[in-house]
Symmetry: C2
Subunit: 352 residues, 2 copies
């Protein structure tokens, strides 16, 4: 098969980890007889510097014309420390999500047996953890009206959800639960927020269409606790945008390395794949960033966007092999030999 | 000295744990020659059942006329599973916070050496953890306009903050940091939210008044991770209402038992003391709930509201002693003998 893949490397360590995912994807394509054409495009601070815009129209056109998008990371401390900055890299990310209609962000958290001792949690707490968050990605407080009044002295952000937005996300959640252990947790703050009450009543009304799925309703603060206490008690969790941002990051550290968790963002049409970790500015250009989350995001791309499970499995297998043989970056080296970002990527591509 | 203390037991395990805090407080008062008059008042689901209102005016009057408020917990599953309920116990809690002007919620997380092995986290990750959250408690999305439109199909919640609201909370944060290790972390989502940008710029402008305090600015999702990875890297954290709700609950499980963490809510006038845990409906009436968080909340009351550090210390000491001697409820018993809620309270009162 032939694929066009938009390649949005972004900022910080983005370009370095993306390079490795490209190498590994090319190796898989070669092995299975596919042909990938990569379409690099600007995004984030890199795009602001080049064309004054974090998600330029040209980048959007390239994404629309592609079969999938592979994304690195965006964000730069220069903007974080300046609350008054008019254009910010993150605006590009949000605009991209919205314009590509990527309303469902799939974020798995799982453990690698060989890395279980790296986790801040005790082994017996995390063993067997294999959960997936479905985070709503194009609504809520991220996209509601925001601004200042009273001469800048008062700030506001509006959180808005429609029943239809909840339904389309929850539908994906129920469907995903049906392919797994049929347990779905709806995370909300229905004891305080009206949007959460809409979430809860909408999901409650959908239960009858999926009689086999056991649905639980939990408050976001309770989930923030239980994720640390008993992460392996969860299967599929659905939640709104901001809660999903916080909880998926919390969940991601359970595996023992943030650098390992991939994600997919889907809508009705195109899908985007990206590591959960951020742009990690301090590590930029040092060839030390862990490329595995991005490489595993490429695996999700083969599986989900191209429906090629064997290709995805080939990538997962070689990642497991690299972990078992200790071909790892310094975050996982544990006093042993640490390989560079590039060296890990080379090894993976060679061993596919 | 003579004190009037409003006693709001609330729902679920609230009355049981409150009873133990009363016993222990009375024992301390006796020992140090104080006289406490307890003023019981209705709140939560219990108040809805009795008078149709979760925070009746009479309760408010009793609080206003007291020197401090000791609070149990509120909430009942009967309301949680009914998104359309018109009156909810939590509304009483929010009304109480607002009407008493309790804008600063102080939530410490610390470890007990004798319980360190109970934590879901590895020992080396949590040793020495001693952090305090200052959560803004009367603003933000909890109190902004909320409702439905489009015939109920669209829900909204408004998050609003004024500079002054941020300043008064941040001031308490800077002051607290000055009495501790002079490290302050401002938690926000300034890369997305306008209210967070107001938080960040307001705190930045206050830095010059506290030149000794080292301030860091971190995104809420990053803090959700670091709390699991390196909780002992934090000292004082300030944050808005909803982020504080999620993160303080997350932090509370670090100590190894949610049942141990106390809290104080303060404003310009009266202060309220309550355990961090909720109403734990499943345990109601079983005499199994851990009373220590409420007992330690009473310690905070003596220290903070009455400025009586020795009395507070007497309570903390007896709590430590009970832990060392294994006079604990089942959540801490670890296969050993489990004492009832009441028996733990009796033991503490006797050993003051
Ligand atoms: C960079 C930021 C805007 C983004 C978000 O909050 O969605 C990130 O944290 C994420 O989770 O993808
Ligand atoms: C019961 C609920 C409304 C409350 C809150 O969200 O503030 C509770 O979770 C808390 O943290 O005190």
């Amino acid at each position: 098969m032939k694929f066009n893949i938009a390649l949005l490397a972004g900022d910080g360590i983005g370009p370095e980890v993306i390079d490795q995912a490209v190498k590994v994807s090319d190796a898989v394509a070669k092995k299975f007889g596919h042909e990938i054409t990569w379409k690099p495009a600007l995004t984030g601070a890199a795009a602001i510097d080049a064309v004054g815009e974090p998600y330029p129209d040209e980048t959007h056109e390239i994404c629309l014309a592609s079969d999938a998008v592979l994304f690195g990371a965006i964000g730069h401390p220069r903007f974080d420390n300046d609350p008054s900055a008019k254009v910010r890299p993150e605006q590009g990310l949000l605009k991209m999500r919205k314009k590509l209609g990527l309303f469902a962000n799939v974020r798995p958290t799982f453990t690698f047996p060989s890395l279980i001792d790296k986790s801040p949690l005790k082994k017996e707490r995390i063993e067997g953890t294999d959960l997936v968050f479905l985070r709503e990605l194009t609504g809520g407080i991220y996209f509601g009206e925001k601004g200042r009044r009273d001469g800048g002295e008062t700030a506001y952000d509006n959180c808005v959800y429609t029943r239809e937005e909840v339904q389309r996300l929850a539908k994906k959640g129920f469907e995903l639960a049906m392919t797994r252990s049929k347990k779905l947790c709806c995370v909300d703050k229905a004891n305080v927020l009206e949007t959460s009450r809409l979430w809860r009543e909408t999901v409650q009304a959908m239960e009858k269409d999926y009689p086999e799925v056991e649905v639980s309703y939990e408050f976001v603060d309770a989930v923030a606790m239980r994720l640390v206490q008993w992460p392996n008690s969860y299967d599929v969790l659905i939640t709104e945008n901001l809660f999903g941002d916080i909880l998926t990051d919390e969940a991601s550290v359970i595996s023992g390395s943030m650098g390992l968790m991939p994600s997919a963002s889907m809508g009705s049409d195109i899908a985007l794949f990206e590591p959960i970790h951020g742009s990690y500015p301090q590590a930029t250009g040092l060839n030390i960033a862990n490329p595995l989350a991005t490489v595993l995001s490429a695996a999700m791309m083969f599986e989900t966007a191209f429906n090629l499970p064997n290709e995805g499995k080939a990538i997962r297998d070689v990642v497991n092999k690299s972990l078992a043989e200790g071909i790892v970056t310094e975050d996982l080296a544990d006093g042993g030999k640490a390989y560079g970002t590039k060296e890990v990527g080379d090894w993976l591509a060679k061993n596919i």
